[in-house]
Subunit: 207 residues, 4 copies
DNA sequence: CATGAATGAGGGTTCATTCAT
DNA sequence: AATGAATGAACCCTCATTCAT
């Protein structure tokens, strides 16, 4: 009886869960973990507070999950962009482009990772450290590769990677703070890519 | 005589006040605005909770004040470092050196500005934006100057300034996260300075 | 035909209802009224939560009903044991034996009456008082009868009845708390019966 | 300054803590652990809810402490009564008298131990078992002693002790349920003592 | 000036209950 | 009949803030 419709119901439930998670990401991104209350989330989602606890075990678990999930998405997207290219200047350009795309299309993702999850629960510190570590390593890999190939001068590639990550974050955070960010997207990608490649001492003429 | 006593009293009061503020900075930097309780602060300061409210109107006001004060100190220090030099590569080196010094000597200052005050109170958003704006402008000024002098290729100096700020923040945050940070201080200054100057397309041989 | 079907349906419904009630008794007995959630009950019964509310109006009503029903069963069983005999020492022995049997065979019944329904809902206080009253009166009747026949010395039979009830409850609660209670069943019946008859000043040789 | 008055303040604080604990005992005794809310307690105590948490860490801790404390008081009082005498019939009489006194003077103590702490939190089960165990052992000691002296016929003294405890509890619970309980105190002590000694097969003429 | 007992708004979470399917 | 998603009152507890001493 109820079985016939169960598929439809399950789909609807999944859709609602997803919708609530997106709402939660926005609220967390906007206010940060502590300042965002469960009541804030359910109000924005238009459901009762009990509904939150029907879908998620508790606030902290959801936040950690969202943070990991979002970080995973962001990191994988950038990693794929890098993997899709073979020479450094294309890798950097692709990754920066991907980052900017995400920032323009889903700014909450960027906010959650860079702003929302700070000063929160102890278990978050590790997650946040883990994410920053992953981003650094992601940038470091192509640098080491290019160094091996003689495309980069000798340098502490780990530190360079950190600086690239920091430079991207800051430029992108400033980008999405602008009223009409989309228009500046292309220029931003170009500026960041150029700055990064120069900063690395990349010899573009060598190709 | 009366003046002397009064002065002494005020000195003592100011001293206590200052001590409490330093404690507060430490606690805020360590735990973030929300997780840091007034009780945490007064316990670490060794005073009663009522004393806190004798010296400060409330937690939020103190935090905002501390954030501004600390930001002011950080910005002024870097600005002075820049002002003390006349050519770009020295300006960058001096500012980075100053930043690293603060990070090594008073990591709480850096933590408060970059980590502690996020996702906290609404009024902080502006302050935080203001601080980042100031840092960007601080970096932008010497870039514009160097551009005018033909020492830098044409570029969006505002964006370059943002990226410098972001690169510094990230590299320094990683630095002070290390167990023995002091030893890496010199190398960090060199790495950052080199990366930044290269990133800007700075023609060092032109001098 | 229609009757047959209707009967079958009702039987099935009653069967399910009965099964759920038995489950509920177990859960209430084990956890007590407050700690036992409706979810606990339906999960153990293998039905959905809505089904609970199809069969029962609400948790409290069910609990009160179960408490009354179980008390009725326990009291009637003991009363019948007493009625089946004519002389006091046999009446006591039969009632104690019946009580121990129930405790060994359906410990949940005993737990529900003696442990599960305390400090629960206000309306339970009366029910609980009523049950204890009934048990006291049940024991008092044969005592009064034996007193009239000169088999018992003068005494406050009401108080004696209360003490018999209390002694039985405590001994039986201790019995079913043991790992292998069945083995001690016979001895327990003997001990209780002897203690009670002695306590009443029963002159067994007078028969 | 504040030091001079600190003694007075501390005394007042202790007094308030004690008063709140007594209030809590009453509420717990009346409603049981789960049904008694922290709001119930503070309302009856005439303080704000925060005051509760200023004096006590949380509801469960307070309850366990109160339960242990009260059990300790009850058990020690009865144990002392027993220790103050040397022959069994006086020991029983003294203990029963002490129990009845407590019941009449502080019925909440009895209610908390016999009614309030049931079906509560898991950790309470042990405490409750521990208390009943202690009461049983308390009664068993003089029985074993009297048995050694040939004052009691052979019997399972552990079981006898349980029954004595149960008989006392029930009789006393019924006593304090009466409107004018004090008047029945003397008779109750006599009835219980007589019933218990008879039940044990105590040979009073042997002295 | 300094103290810390006292307050209560508000946050996270549970769970009995309803109702559309 | 049966289901389980959805609800929201109510619970326990924290913590910024006040004020009498």
């Amino acid at each position: 009886m109820a079985y016939r419709t169960s598929d439809k119901v399950r789909d609807k439930k999944d859709a609602k869960r997803t919708a609530m998670m997106q709402t939660a990401v926005q609220v967390f991104a906007e206010k940060g973990y502590h300042a965002a209350t469960v009541r804030d989330i359910v109000q924005k989602a238009g459901v009762a507070i009990g509904t939150f606890y029907f879908y998620f075990p508790d606030k902290e678990t959801l936040f950690v999950y969202l943070y990991e999930e979002t970080g995973e998405f962001l990191a994988q997207t950038l990693e794929q962009a890098i993997s899709s290219k073979t020479v450094l200047h294309q890798q950097v350009a692709a990754a920066v482009q991907a980052y900017v795309n995400i920032a323009l299309y889903e700014p909450a993702v960027v906010h959650l990772m860079l702003v929302g999850g700070i000063g929160a629960v102890p278990s978050l510190h590790e997650k946040r450290s883990g994410f920053r570590e992953r981003m650094a390593q992601m940038w470091q890999r192509p640098l080491d590769f290019a160094t091996d190939e003689g495309k980069l001068p000798d340098q502490n590639t780990r530190r360079s990677a950190e600086m690239i990550a920091g430079a991207c974050d800051e430029a992108i955070l400033n980008l999405i703070a602008q009223p009409n960010a989309e228009e500046s997207g292309v220029a931003t990608v170009r500026d960041i890519t150029l700055f990064v490649l120069r900063g690395l001492g990349y010899n573009s003429s060598a190709e």
